[in-house]
Amino acid sequence: MIVLVLDVACLVLILLLGLGLIRVIAGPAAADRILAIQLSGTTTVGLLLLLAIRLEQPALIHAALVFVLFAALLALGFVYGTEHER
């Protein structure tokens, strides 16, 4: 039963992730695409948590943690650039 719930939740999340990709394609602004990345990031974290339980792999929670720790990094990188040349 609980396995079913987890499976269904996973499926829903991955479907949502796929739906979110429309923003990647449609844009229109650069910021929209970055938003799509953010969405995918959060969804992935959720999925990782679910899979950690479903597959009984606690290491995945670490992976989720790493994702979260770097969640804001892409947005920062996009907005503030990379090199010391501004």
Binding site: C10, L21, T44, A63, F70, L76
Partner: protein
């Protein structure tokens, strides 16, 4: 779960297609970054949590930031509408046909070969006892096939030197501090957990998913975050300690391999009673070198220093 796998695979393909056909360069980059996320999920599904960790640290941390930052540095409109060359249409069609054919053959081949013996893998699992670590992947990386890992450190060093050569002169300034204080606060808040989890991953590599590279990549991510928020800046002065740390992993790895030959009779072999401490020592030194190299690949400067307000 098979459905999940199917969806994942489908999304991977969609994103890959988007990545190469998108009209806008940013779209392609974003598609690639999202593809990285999905790949991490795929690694999870394929019983490769090590790789999921690596992908998380690299895709979200270093590579994504570099890609987006590079896009920002490009002149306006570059890479968007490429001027068509003669015969472009037919050439593309031929390329597409060829690639479709290749994909079919490749998929069939991969399908065909998912059964069979794996002598090397079986041997690795069988000899895990003697390797000094419990995690098979780490054992392969640091002991059974340590030579590959060592040479890989050479790759890292050489690309770093190459990147440093592209640095432009007279730019010792930091990134302009972000207009809001929020990112800096975030960096300060996140720094301890990132460092902790990075070190933990290095340590955990001995018995669970993790290892020098994953830990190093997370530590490098911390550096990237500091540099992005202006807490750390690149410096044109390269100093001896930094250079020492950059080669620490490779040097320690090589020297222990060479100096222990009298005890073991083989290059890069470790005596039984020393193997675990040596593994841990080498793993940490590798992680430090990897972290610093990746970080400096990001900043592109030979040195780093703290920004003092």
């Amino acid at each position: 779960m098979t459905l999940l796998d199917g969806l994942l695979a489908l999304l991977l393909l969609l994103l890959a297609g988007r990545c190469v056909t998108a009209a806008s360069l940013l779209q392609a980059i974003v598609a690639f970054i999202v593809l990285g996320l999905l790949l991490a999920l795929s690694w999870v599904r394929l019983e490769a949590p090590d790789l999921a960790l690596a992908e998380a640290a690299i895709g979200a941390g270093l590579l994504g930031v570099l890609l987006l930052g590079t896009w920002r540095r490009l002149p306006a409109g570059s890479g968007e509408q490429e001027t068509p060359w003669p015969w472009q249409g037919s050439a593309q069609a031929i390329a597409a046909l060829g690639c479709v054919a290749l994909a079919v053959v490749l998929a069939l081949a991969l399908h065909e070969t998912t059964l069979g013996p794996a002598a090397a893998g079986t041997a690795a699992l069988a000899q895990l006892e003697a390797a000094g670590v419990d995690q098979p992947v780490t054992a392969v990386l640091l002991n059974f096939r340590a030579y590959d890992t060592l040479l890989e450190m050479g790759v890292l060093l050489m690309t770093l030197i190459g990147t440093l050569m592209l640095r432009r002169p007279l730019q010792d300034g930091a990134l302009a501090a972000p207009a809001t204080p929020l990112p800096q606060s975030l960096a300060r808040l996140f720094l301890p957990p990132i460092l902790l989890s990075g070190l933990y991953l290095v340590w955990a590599g001995a018995y669970s998913p993790g290892g020098a590279f994953q830990g190093g990549a997370v530590l490098a991510g911390a550096g990237v975050m500091l540099a992005l928020t202006g807490l750390l800046r690149g410096s044109t002065r390269d100093d001896l300690p930094l250079r020492c740390l950059l080669v620490l992993g490779a040097a320690l790895f090589t020297l222990s391999g060479v100096l222990l030959i009298p005890l073991t009779g083989h290059f890069m072999a470790y005596p039984d009673d020393l193997v675990t401490p040596l593994m841990v020592l080498i793993e940490f030194s590798l992680a430090i070198s990897i972290a610093l190299s990746l970080m400096m690949l990001f900043t592109g400067t030979p040195g780093l220093c703290r920004t003092r307000p």
